[in-house]
Symmetry: C2
Amino acid sequence: MIQSGYQLISDLYKMKDDSGAAGKAVNIRGWIRTNRDNGHIGFIELNDGSCFSGCQLVYDMDANGELKEASKYLTGYSIEVSGTFKPTPGAKQPFEVLAQEVLLLGSCDPDFPMQKKRHTLEFMREIPHLRTRTNTFSALFRVRSILCAAIHDYLQQNGFLYITTPIITGNDAEGAGEVFTVTTRNDADYENDFFGKHACMTVSGQLHVEPFALSYGRVYTFGPTFRAENSNTTTHASEFWMIEPELAFADLQDDMAVMEGLIKYCIKTVLEKAAPEMQFFNDLIDKEHTLISRLQAVADSSFKVLTYTEAVECLRESGVDFKYPYDWGCDLKTEHERYICEQVAKGPVFITDYPKDIKAFYMRMNDDGKTVAACDMLVPGVGELIGGSQREERYDHLVKRMSELDIPVEPLKWYVDLRRFGTVKHAGFGVGLERFILYLTGIGNIRDTIPYPRTPGNLTF
Amino acid sequence: MIQSGYQLISDLYKMKDDSGAAGKAVNIRGWIRTNRDNGHIGFIELNDGSCFSGCQLVYDMDANGELKEASKYLTGYSIEVSGTFKPTPGAKQPFEVLAQEVLLLGSCDPDFPMQKKRHTLEFMREIPHLRTRTNTFSALFRVRSILCAAIHDYLQQNGFLYITTPIITGNDAEGAGEVFTVTTRNDADYENDFFGKHACMTVSGQLHVEPFALSYGRVYTFGPTFRAENSNTTTHASEFWMIEPELAFADLQDDMAVMEGLIKYCIKTVLEKAAPEMQFFNDLIDKEHTLISRLQAVADSSFKVLTYTEAVECLRESGVDFKYPYDWGCDLKTEHERYICEQVAKGPVFITDYPKDIKAFYMRMNDDGKTVAACDMLVPGVGELIGGSQREERYDHLVKRMSELDIPVEPLKWYVDLRRFGTVKHAGFGVGLERFILYLTGIGNIRDTIPYPRTPGNLTF
């Protein structure tokens, strides 16, 4: 117990099954969500953030005239309460606290925006420092924290070392989109800049983490990445977190085994450790109210595998009038991915062996010379959740492919050189944390999954 | 088991206590650290990165002429080995593998720099993609990963939610040092820049995480932070990771309890989970070869507390001829901190209640009007390891202090406003991850604790 002298509401939830707890003296602190009374008895819904659920306080103004003051305390006020614990088996809330003393800690000025009435998610994006006090964001940021812990746990338990790849990088030649420049000057004179050359913010830790896989076998990055793309969509943010595991002595099959294991572990852990939050999303956010059962089905399923070529064949045979073309060589769009996933595989599916021209230079060329050992993991309702690949470990193949794509070798000599010094097969993948949260919660906009979202033109605080 | 068809060397270390394991067929893969032979029998020290220690392979060229090829394989080559497991109780290494087949996976070009001879740490900083294959860096990056996991574990177990505060921020007015600008332009026209205003890289997540503490009670950030300071020292980097817990309904005492608990838990966990690595640092890096016993003593001790005023008094009474002044009001230097810690407290000590003028604007003013509720945690051999404070939760006090220090309120209105909406006592602290690693390992330079260190003029890859 870190703090002494009071209980957390999460402690009270543990007390509820203790037969000797009834009548025990408790002292709790938190913020008022609602406060109503009938002139004699009042009810405060108190939340201290220690768990998703709050605690009902009952104050009897007839029995104790001093408690009349409590009826003036409004939504958002912080209070300290001394009282007794009362189990209420069978009731909606399993216990309540009968207040003997209610002490005001901090009131709210009248312009406090988080009143009881519902606000739109759009409005609340402008007040990221206060939207945290709503049920929706409490559930979101709890799931985010539990998910992050689950990711670390799964990978650490499976022998992966956590490597923090750099945010500031001199490698802006990866071609993964537009980048932000990092500078201490205002004139773009990068030779005389802080690092003596152009510096930018990372778009992916993959290239930097590969040397660690080629030393320690199994490693992962988990950190922020950045895209300076001027796209205003519900799934793009300029700053987002990525998990990028990388495995040595591994091929695409091994890679997919880790992806499947990670996703299933995370779903199970979130359903277990964030049960009230997930029930909230199921009941109030998901339109069909089937979120939990859909996730459980994915966690219990065996993921299927289709090659890209097979997938295109399925689209062709479907007879469906798709909006976008799906000829061999085209990138699959979300409508195609969802058809394959929901109608063909009827569950999570890996699409493998994509045409080389729609994938990155570092992916391993297959023997057909046309496709690469890449895979995307598709899930029902969303489409692509993860992308991965076996990396090209053969020096000659890699240099040839870079040449074909006009990617200069010199800035990436260190990366290419890994193929000259004890090269081994290796593979990896990248998961976008926020996309995963969208999938787990059913929330519709990436801006609501990030504490302080950054998008073009938006930098609140 | 993620990968099938072969064992990790860490698996073999688990087999060594299994009485039925002798003679079992094994298949392992890794990189050659050393290879020597007497013309008849050869010995390869193989490392696959699954654990700090490697595995000795024995190949009998007399018994199997095909194994003569293996004697040509050099340091750094990657190989796959089929053989049998042989426990060697009492020997330096608890088992060896008798090779039946040694397959070359990847050779090394002659310019492979990581030959058996010792390289300086300075030299290896220029090849961050290859230095990973040495014992020193293997130990360092393993301890880094285990320490990161321990930090997450301790905080999650104690009810702290993990919050990822933003890297790109519009708040450059915190006064915590020089900042990097983030831009997509080359002309400093920030009004027409990506975010429509000047953007920079965060120097601390504290201000951004406070609203989350004032919603969920206990939270922490753990992410990269940046300083554009032109200082070339052994303890400064331009990019480093910080852990910043923040607690609501908490004062400086509660804050110190978490700091002490976190440090002790991390020391114990690293000593337990990174035992071979810590033995390596104890024996080969620490000058006095007492690293482990010193850390164990800290983990077992009860941290002392002295006020700043008492500490200055101790310095005055010491009779020691310090290099720097230590009058009341001066910042304590490392020599003072180490004297207090090593000679007065004889162990870890918190110094509390510093003069307000040497601490940040957001720290809570004490009743004396001269000191603030801040604390630094000092440890023997290093000095300051963590700094924390209770935050000023009183609106009037905070605004007054900002005015005294000429800090404009407008850009931080959101932060100040938290004091108008259900304000409560709260406190927090910041731990520099790399400084903690320096302390735990005895390594001398922060550049060696970071996968790709960034310092003025240095941006390797």
